[in-house]
């Protein structure tokens, strides 16, 4: 894993191999990011399903529900 470091005092870009500690921190960060994103996607899907169920009870057709609830993009984090 490569990491870039620029310091304006030195004015030079250097690329280093990440230390074991930096690799572990980056992997933990990605793991947390992925897990949080998945949980947001699940929550968004549940909310959408709840809304669909309510619209069904109101007697809306599938096309009408789709118009009200367009397929969402994946949640952003």
């Amino acid at each position: 894993m490569k990491i870039g470091k620029f310091d304006a005092i030195i004015g030079q870009q250097i690329v280093l191999d990440a230390t074991d500690e930096e690799i572990a921190a980056r992997e933990a960060e990605i793991t947390e990011y992925t897990a949080t994103k998945q949980s947001l996607e699940i929550a968004a899907t549940q909310l959408r399903n709840t809304k669909i169920a309510a619209y069904v009870k109101l007697g809306l057709t599938e096309a009408e529900i789709e118009a009200l609830l367009p397929t969402p993009k994946a949640p952003r984090l």
């Binding site: 990491i3 870039g4 470091k5 620029f6 969402p72 952003r76």
Partner: protein, 253 residues
């Protein structure tokens, strides 16, 4: 040639002068030339300049200025060295990075400026365009990894949707979907240190980005709510590597 000379009135020997008077005549002539040349070229030191004075045929010496000074006109209407005033927008750094997991830009926020303009161009993820572009603030050699409050609102070509991030988040989301090298992402935003550069305080970040993936425009605003003496920032992709160029400008106080 006229005698005395037409421009500087140097007195030369005349036809009726005695030969025995010539040494004295040439002393008069030579000293007059020497005095006038010195008046025209008064320089004594490396870098000296000379400019015409109010006295005819006499120049004034102007000693060299200090490093970085520029030549201007003084209130008296003569040349003078002066320190150039800083422009309203000063470029602090330009950094190009290629296929790195993280890119730190350090020592760019100082007491010189309180507000900064950041321009990111040609940003993409060699790891795939499902990656997003993230930013975290840096203080000294540390990275702030928590307590970013804010959101990004995106406008997509079709359909129009708004999305936001979690609060507080571990980073600022600058762009949804880093492009590839053919259709890279760009972002232009401000980072403002409300208590002044070089002081401990929060950091405000707001601006916009364009991702060619959807394509979509992102409008974002965040606050790094933990008070630090922020000195720089880190760019990274959400999961993979990132490439790009970032330019930092300081906005004059």
């Amino acid at each position: 040639m006229t005698n005395p000379t037409s421009n500087y009135s140097f007195q030369m020997p005349t036809a009726t002068d005695l030969v025995t008077d010539l040494p004295a005549d040439f002393e008069v002539f030579g000293q007059a030339v020497d005095t006038r040349l010195k008046a025209l070229q008064p320089g004594t030191t490396l870098g000296d300049l000379a400019y015409s004075s109010a006295t005819a045929n006499t120049n004034t010496r102007l000693g060299i200025g200090t490093s970085g000074q520029v030549l201007a006109v003084s209130g008296g209407g003569v040349p003078a060295w002066t320190t150039a005033s800083a422009g309203a927008l000063a470029k602090i750094s330009t950094t190009t990075f290629t296929n790195v997991a993280t890119q730190d830009i350090d020592s760019v926020f100082t007491s010189t400026y309180d507000a900064y303009l950041i321009v990111i161009t040609n940003a993409f993820s060699p790891s795939g365009n499902t990656n997003d572009l993230h930013l975290q603030m840096r203080y000294s050699t540390n990275t702030e990894t928590a307590d970013y409050f804010g959101a990004i609102q995106t406008i997509v070509s079709t359909p129009t949707t708004n999305t936001t991030g979690a609060n507080p988040a571990a980073h600022c989301l600058l762009s949804n979907g880093l492009g590839n090298s053919t259709v890279p992402t760009t972002a232009v935003f401000n980072i403002v240190l409300p208590l002044g550069g070089g002081n401990s305080g929060r950091a405000n970040l707001y601006g916009n980005s364009f991702s060619a993936v959807a394509p979509e425009v992102g409008f974002f605003g965040y606050e790094a709510s933990t008070a630090r003496t922020y000195t720089g920032f880190r760019l990274k992709a959400s999961t993979g590597n990132v490439s790009g160029t970032v330019v930092v400008y300081g906005l004059g106080k």
